[in-house]
Symmetry: C3
């Protein structure tokens, strides 16, 4: 029988942890993200992510880390554009660099296996976060993916370009990055954005079973495999740093600032308005 | 309401141009290719492509360039094998180098976003042309893709290898390149050759809507995104040059010349015979 | 009419060879693997593979080499874990290096076009073998793919990581490599592991037709195309060598040895037990 331990890391992340069957030493950790009202990636959530990663990595029993959302409509909405310097500062607590890109890349090189179990909307840096995880499984009915940056005159600064160009190839990556459109789970699977789209009724059991199976295998080989795969398919750290700089360059342009204002006027960063963000992004104006 | 401006660039390309809604400064340019009798890529079409690119790039209002065909059966058939030196000379007008490969690669690095809206057959260098575009959407019922070179003892000289090996991986690329078979739109989508196969009834509206949406977003971020994606997924210019040299090496072999002659005897480069080119290519002989 | 020549190379491989229609000089060679009781990759099969490759490469008439299995349930089960040093020694006969990785990579750079026609189970180094072939077509109803190494605390040592990370991208490759699960042909196709899954009723004709078509085209261009594709999509030899070393490092760990013993106790390397190997791998224990 599985013993579940629950705890809360600060305010945004609740953990539950289950030991692997037939073992007293391996654990799967489930991190549930819930930062009301809509799981914006602001300083609090970044701070809690840093704590979670530090805690999980320092506990040798934890093998696999599963991320899911406590909000059925939003996995991670995107960054809080009104607090860019604050969330960057919070990210620096993990790597010494104030870059979401490097916080996310840390996950990609962690000894922990990370799995994103995605339901609801995941856009912008939220998408870049799940792309940094080792695997991505999404609920076929509810998951929605988008890289919204281009609509704001912004470039993806937290690794999205590095991952998407490699996962889906030049043509599909340019479409996703230029269009700022929403992609449902089925299309995200077809494009290689995620591993698989699964019916909501089977997603949880599938991820649980996979996570426990992986956690039951010896960690040494897993670390070697991950290092070899990363050597082929994970971009060098400097490419992540450069993307982060270019994001900031874009954010300083008057066009980008005018478009952010236009979006805020239309309800950007509010729960209801972002239920159909795709349409709003097509209507932004510059004065 | 959208104002459409039409004009003709020399003989092979008709342009129509539509301003983006809510804007007086951004335009989408639609280039319709019609070089009777079957959209062969010969010196005239290359010359007109060069003019089109120069004109579109020099007009800051133009953001997105959509290529489509005025011939329902042929998007671009392939190069005119009887006029290789002439179309190469025409290509040199853009880049100073007499290489289709570099003409096409210029498109891949252009500030313009290029979208291929494909109906009908697109083979050989025609396929290499659409691969150089930023995105490819095809009519599910009519689009047919093929790299015919191997049947003639030729290598793909205009970038097809560079794109296909990256888009579809080693196994599928070798199949496509070795087999010289026809691939329908559904299979081309599954292999990653194109972004998506869409029903003919929705293709035009889909591309129009996507093109206008992209054109309405700020160009600065788009240029940065494209540069970053190209840094990952577009081969260096010297690889395109090398492919072009190897194509010429192959074209000089007696086997290749004998097979071209055998094909011409069977109606190669005529509209009717190429409706089922796949079969003809399996029947070529060397004396 | 096609003349079929049959012969047996030692004990594990039966050859049949068919001349290409309209030609007296090009041949397709069909190699049927049958090493009872379950097509384990042991020293005999490796020895026969080496003989086959040497014989086929030295005969200029042979253009295409098709691998299929004489056992409906197993294409290649995996290596014989009780005879690692022996099969490594047998592999050295081809390249001078006692590495399956280099034997397989030799195939990937051979002038021969290699096609794997897969029915039944293909796991571990069996999967790495088909990944080294130029193309992979699988029977939709029967083919089953798996990289079982992680369950034994092993890393894939014969090139599987190099191929899978490039074919399916980081997320799907990590899933396949970490999970040691079985993948049916449909999912293997979706992930890019194979070119296509085809109904059993059409697989043989499809592969025969493709093989003969390819063999009928001039070999010079084919060699150039393969070299250019390999320059993009085939890992350098040193990466294969490094993977092989890391495999041996893993195999020396006590965890790995304990898990191999636990598997042998449960019937590993017996025909019946491996019909549902996926489940057994989830039940291995370390004392």
């Amino acid at each position: 029988m599985t013993r579940i331990v629950e705890c809360r890391i600060s305010s945004c992340i609740t953990l539950s942890s289950a030991p692997v069957a037939r073992s007293r030493v391996e654990y799967v950790l489930f991190a549930e993200i819930l930062a009301p009202p809509m799981n914006l990636l602001g300083p609090e959530l970044v701070r809690d992510l840093v704590s979670l990663i530090q805690q999980a990595e320092s506990d040798d029993r934890v093998q696999v880390l599963v991320f899911k959302s406590g909000d059925p409509d939003y996995f991670i909405a995107h960054v809080d554009v009104t607090r860019i310097s604050q969330y960057r500062e919070a990210a620096a607590a993990l790597t010494g660099e104030p870059l979401l890109a490097m916080l996310f890349r840390h996950l990609s090189t962690s000894r922990l296996v990370t799995i994103a179990q995605i339901e609801g909307r995941v856009r912008g840096a939220g998408s870049e976060f799940v792309l940094a995880c080792d695997m991505r499984f999404a609920g076929r009915e509810s998951a929605i993916f988008g890289q919204l940056e281009a609509a704001f005159g912004l470039m993806q600064g937290a690794g999205g370009i590095q991952h998407l160009a490699r996962l889906m190839g030049r043509g599909r990556a340019l479409e996703v990055l230029f269009s700022a459109e929403d992609y449902n789970a089925e299309l995200a699977e077809r494009y290689g954005w995620i591993n698989r789209a699964l019916p909501a009724g089977t997603l949880v059991d599938f991820v649980n079973s996979l996570a426990h199976r992986i956690a039951s295998f010896p960690p040494f080989a897993r670390a070697v495999i991950k290092e070899r795969v990363n050597g082929i398919a994970l971009a060098p750290a400097d490419d992540f740093r450069r993307d982060s700089d270019l994001f900031l360059d874009c954010a300083r342009t008057p066009e980008s600032q005018a478009r952010t204002k236009s979006a805020m006027d239309r309800g950007f960063q509010t729960r209801n308005a972002e239920m159909n963000l795709e349409r709003m992004l097509g209507e932004l104006v510059e004065p």
